[in-house]
Symmetry: C2
Subunit: 267 residues, 2 copies
C-alpha cells in the first residue's frame, strides 16, 4: 500500500520499482475542477520475476490523502481498507476449503514523507500512529533529490527521533544468528539507511561519462536512481522485493493479522 500527499512521486516510485509504466503519466485534474476532497482506494496488479521466482504483486494507492483543507479524518478510509482485507482473510479462513486462500492482506505500507528538512508533520504522526500496529510500516523520504547529503542525514536523524518519541513502530528487517557474514552486513547496511531517501524515475538518460542510467536530468547534473551515492532506492527495492518479501509476509501473517484476529474475537 502506498500513502502520502499528492505530488510526492508515489506513482513514479511504483513504476520505478517494477520498471514499467504501471501508472500512466497522471491525467492532471482539469483546470477549473475543484480539487478532490476525499480519500479513494485504487488497486493495480502486476507480475514480476525476481531471481527466477514469479511474483504477483498488487499495489493499493490512496489518492486524496492529505490533500483537503481539513485532513483530520484522512486516515479513516485507509484504516478501513486495511481492516476489510484482514476481514476478507478471516472469513476465508473459516470456510471448509482452506487450501487456496487468496492473501490480499496489506503486507507493507510505504509512507511518503515530504522532504521539508524540518520534522514530521501532524499529518504524518497521526497517520502512522493509526496504522503501525496493523501493517509493516516503511517510512520513506520522498523526492530526496530535493535535499543535499547533509540535509538528508539531519532529516533522517530527526525523523527517527520523532518516531521514537511518538512510539511509532516501523518495519525492521530481522537479523538471524545463523546468517553468513555477507547477509548480516547487507542487512546492517539496509538498516542503517532507514528511513530510505528515495528518488524515482523510469527515464533513461546518458551521463557525461557515457553510461545509460535511470534518472532525472537537471541543468546542473543528473540524479541517478540506481546509484547508491545519490539515494537509497536500491536499498528500498532490496527490502521490498529481494531480501524481505518473506519476512514482510510472515510478520503480517504471524503477528499483525493474529493481533487483529484476537482483538476482533474478543469483542
Amino acid at each position: 500500500m502506498v500513502v502520502g500527499e499528492s505530488g510526492l512521486g508515489k506513482s513514479t516510485l511504483i513504476n520505478t520499482l517494477f520498471n514499467r509504466e504501471l501508472y500512466a503519466e497522471k491525467e492532471a485534474r482539469n483546470p477549473g475542477d475543484e480539487p478532490a476532497s476525499s480519500v479513494r482506494i485504487e488497486t493495480v496488479s502486476t507480475d514480476i520475476e525476481e531471481n527466477g521466482v514469479k511474483l504477483h504483486l498488487t499495489v493499493v494507492d490512496t489518492p486524496g490523502f492529505g490533500d483537503a483543507l481539513n485532513n483530520v479524518d484522512s486516515w479513516r478510509v485507509i484504516v478501513d481498507e486495511i481492516n476489510s482485507r484482514f476481514d476478507q482473510y478471516l472469513e476465508a479462513e473459516t470456510k471448509i476449503n482452506r487450501t487456496n486462500i487468496a492473501d490480499n492482506r496489506v503486507h507493507a505500507l510505504l509512507y511518503f514523507i515530504e522532504p521539508t528538512g524540518h520534522a514530521l508533520k501532524s499529518l504524518d504522526i497521526t497517520f502512522m500512529k493509526q496504522v503501525h500496529e496493523k501493517v509493516n510500516l516503511i517510512p520513506v523520504i520522498a523526492k530526496s533529490d530535493t535535499m543535499t547529503e547533509d540535509e538528508v542525514l539531519e532529516f533522517k536523524t530527526r525523523i527517527l527521533d520523532d518516531i521514537k518519541n511518538q512510539g511509532i513502530n516501523y518495519f525492521v528487517p530481522e537479523q538471524f544468528d545463523n546468517e553468513d557474514d555477507e547477509t548480516v552486513s547487507s542487512t546492517e547496511e539496509i538498516l542503517s539507511r532507514i528511513p530510505f531517501a528515495i528518488v524515482g524515475s523510469t527515464k533513461e538518460l546518458q551521463t557525461e561519462d557515457g553510461r545509460i542510467v535511470r534518472g532525472r536530468s537537471y541543468p546542473w547534473g543528473i540524479v541517478e536512481v540506481d546509484n547508491e551515492d545519490h539515494c537509497d532506492f536500491i536499498k528500498l527495492r532490496q527490502l521490498l522485493i529481494r531480501n524481505f518479501l518473506e519476512d514482510l509476509k510472515e510478520k503480517t501473517s504471524k503477528i499483525l493479522y493474529e493481533n487483529y484476529r484476537s482483538e476482533k474475537l474478543k469483542r
Copy 2:
C-alpha cells in the same frame, strides 16, 4: 509578507534576497513537542542599500500556516494582520499631523507553492482568493530545484490556468508606452517568467570551473541561485527590490488601500 507551509524554504529565501542571515537557522521543534497548530505572525526588519538608495524593509512571516491537520481557517490570522495594518494607516491618516505617517501596510505577499508537479492545492486556492484583492500577490514556486526544466514549464502553465480559472488576481508589473526598449524588454522578461521558480541559499560554493557562487551542492552538481538558467531568483529580486518597489507601494496605496478604505467607510 511571506506565506506558505513549513519547509518550503521561506526563511532561506528571505536571507538570500537580503544576502544576510535575517533568520538564523531554524531551531527545529524539539522531538516530543506536538507540532504547533495555529498560525502566528512574526516580523523582522532590516536596512538595505540598493542603487545608492537606503531602504528600510520589514518582513512579516506567518509560521504555522497550512501545518495543522485542519487548515480550513489557516487564512484568517493572516487576513486579520493585513486588515489591521490597513486600519493602523487609516487611523494615522485621520490625525492632525499627517506629515510623517509610518507606512506599515503590506506592500507585497509572496505566496510559496509546493513543487508537486501537479496543480494548485485547495489550500493555495483558498488562501490566494482571500488575499488577492487586499495585497499585491506574488505566487512563487518554492524549491524549484526539485523540478527539471520541462517540469517547471509545465507546472507554470498549469498554475497560471488554475489562477485564471479561479479568478485570482496576481501582481503584474506595469509597462508604460514611454519606456525605452531596454526597460520594456526587461519588464517582458520578468513577466514571461511568472510565477517565478525559485531556489534560495546563502552558502558560497566553488563550481567545477572555479567560480564562487551562492548555491546548493548535490552529489550530481551545484544549483546556482544567481544563474538565470537554473532558476528565476534574479527576476524575483529585480521585481521586489529594484524595478518595482515603487510600483508595489503605489498600487498598495492607490488601489488596494483605497478599496479597503471605501469598503470600510461604507459600513
